[in-house]
């Protein structure tokens, strides 16, 4: 199957990494973090890359999932599994309520409104200390376990999050290549033409906004159980911006691009630690350079380069062979 070729390749790579590098910090610790970021980037990419609706507040939904799980398990002693579902329901309802008024806005105005949403959620988390633990956060969140299999090692978390990531990528790929996915892309291309083709653009925007929020909430719940600790800093404005950067860096409107962007933005700071004080400067310079030379994003940019390269080789080969005949 050509459609899912890249998917199988990625699945094999994700499954093989811990065997090739057993007990490697970059695979089981940074890798898990990259996996969570990739899930978030893929969900944001559905909204931003495909449907063309910018959101500077995606971390808010990630936070809603994380705090729902954290609060229900630590303060009320719930089992972790139902808290994930409650998180999904809570985030879904909030996203649905804010979607209609927010998504009437376009461009910069939509960016400002989603930015406001992100900041409000962050402030609520910080201020409602009696429930959320305030700036100190909430600790001792229990880990997940299923039929006696407890997810209590880095490697097991890698397996759980790797599986979840592949599931989310699979859903996103299926969605994009369907009637609903075309409606999303049409919305991005021309809203008025999409309407005239019978697409209810308001409902479609709401739908993709809620879907992206639900995936983020799921990632948030998993994040809370994996870290066993949540604090407001993980869900602030800067994290929303980081998610947007992942999507743009990897390549808008490309699911693999979003994954690549998430992996790079997670690993780069780890690798740049050797530069100590200059880490942030080098990080910024790399981002600027990438955007200047590969403005379509890394994934699509590299694809184009590769195509040009193979095309040129094919052409020169043809010329060579034709010269040979002459």
């Amino acid at each position: 199957m050509r459609r899912l070729g890249g998917f199988y390749l990625l699945a094999v790579a994700v499954a093989a990494l811990p065997f090739i590098f057993p007990d490697n910090y970059f695979v089981t610790v940074v890798g898990v973090s990259a996996g969570l970021h990739a899930i978030l980037a893929v969900s944001l990419n559905l909204l931003m890359g495909y449907a063309g609706q910018i959101s500077l507040g995606h971390a808010a939904f990630f936070g809603m999932g994380a705090y729902t799980s954290a609060i229900l398990t630590t303060r009320y002693g719930w089992n972790p599994w139902p808290t994930i579902l409650v998180g999904l329901a809570f985030t879904g309802v909030i996203a649905y309520i804010v979607a209609r008024p927010i998504l009437k806005l376009k461009g910069h105005y939509l960016a400002m409104a989603t930015l406001g949403l992100g900041i409000i959620v962050h402030i609520v988390i910080v201020q409602m200390g009696w429930l959320t633990g305030g700036p100190d956060g909430l600790g001792s969140i229990p880990t997940l376990s299923l039929f006696g299999w407890t997810v209590d090692t880095d490697l097991r978390w890698y397996a759980v999050i790797g599986t979840l990531l592949m599931l989310v990528i699979w859903l996103a790929l299926n969605l994009i290549d369907s009637r609903s996915g075309r409606a999303l892309r049409a919305l991005h291309g021309s809203e008025v033409a999409a309407e005239m083709m019978g697409i209810d653009t308001a409902a479609t925007k709401t739908g993709v906004f809620v879907l992206a929020a639900l995936i983020a909430s799921l990632a948030g719940s998993v994040f809370a159980h994996q870290q066993a600790f949540v604090s407001p800093g993980s869900f602030d404005f800067f994290f929303s911006i980081e998610l947007v950067t992942m999507v743009v860096l990897g390549g808008m409107a490309s699911t693999y691009g979003a994954v690549l962007g998430a992996i790079i933005l997670t690993f780069l700071p780890e690798l740049l630690v050797v530069f100590e004080d200059y880490e942030v400067m080098i990080f910024g310079a790399i981002l600027m350079g990438m955007m200047i030379f590969l403005p379509q994003g890394l994934f699509i940019g590299f694809q184009d380069l590769l195509r040009k390269f193979t095309h040129r080789r094919a052409v020169t080969k043809k010329e060579e062979s034709s010269h040979g005949v002459a």
């Binding site: 859903l171 369907s178 609903s180 996915g181 075309r182 021309s190 005239m196 019978g198």
Partner: protein, 257 residues
């Protein structure tokens, strides 16, 4: 009963009346042209017919059902499709996917069955693919099927828009200046395409500045000027109507004639 029945249509923008008291009827399976000088209100009329603008007064009945008050996607559901004066392509998609969007109303699968790729999806995808191909071939675009939309020349894109509208199987197709910006060869192709369209039983409402094209393809013509109805009739009646000649050529020229 007329397919489209427009009565007492009026719309104004901030005190400027763009369309005043307009009435006309489009019979079934005909090419009906709306002409008029620049700024006469033709595109405004189209935007009301497709639900984008809401008129201040009047009614637009399509097959006896009221269009006024419906959203554009609901108007599309009734069987009205359109093309645009300034291209409204989905430049982020291939030609085939552009036209597949046209099949939106003919397919039904919900978002969750698409995400899980249930077997019903595969069948529907194949069906949409076949419909889209059919529409593309009808418009003579088989050579461009797999190309990205942003790589194609203007004249081709004009026809892709028509194919996209056709894929929705409309009863009425609104065409806003299909020949604008086309060269002579492309204009002849467009004329033939409009003729073949009406032969399939689709009614066409045409706004166009190319008078040669309008006179050749239209069954009836409505002339509007300053938002009001100036004349209506068969092409030869319109050509010889002194009021129309005056509107187009200016009052003084009439004395010279």
């Amino acid at each position: 009963m007329a397919l489209l029945d427009v009565k007492d249509l009026t719309i104004s923008f901030g005190g400027v009346t763009a369309i005043a008291d307009l009435h006309f009827e489009v019979p079934e399976s005909q090419v009906y042209a709306v002409i008029g000088p620049n700024g006469a209100g033709k595109t405004t009329l189209f935007n009301m017919l497709s639900g984008i603008y809401k008129p201040n007064e009047g009614s637009i009945k399509f097959q006896g059902k009221e269009i006024v008050g419906r959203m554009p996607h609901q108007v599309a559901e009734m069987g009205v499709s359109r093309t645009f004066q300034n291209l409204q392509m989905f430049f982020n998609m291939s030609v085939l996917d552009n036209v597949k969007v046209g099949c939106h109303l003919r397919t039904r699968s919900p978002i969750w069955s698409a995400a899980l790729r249930l077997p019903s999806i595969l069948k529907e995808e194949r069906q949409a693919q076949a419909w889209a191909r059919e529409a593309l071939i009808f418009c003579g675009l088989e050579a461009y099927i797999d190309q990205p939309a942003d790589s194609l020349p203007y004249g081709v894109l004009k026809r892709v828009e028509i194919a996209r509208a056709l894929a929705a199987q409309p009863k009425l197709l609104l065409m806003d200046e299909p020949a604008a910006g086309l060269n002579d060869t492309e204009t002849v192709e467009m004329r033939n395409l409009i003729r073949r369209l009406s032969e399939t039983g689709i009614s066409v409402l045409l706004v166009e500045h190319n008078m040669g094209l309008v006179m050749q393809v239209s069954d009836r013509i409505l002339v509007i000027d300053y938002g009001s109805r100036l004349a209506e009739g068969l092409p030869e009646e319109i050509q010889n109507n002194p009021k129309v000649i005056e509107a187009y050529l200016g009052g003084e020229v009439q004395y010279a004639v």
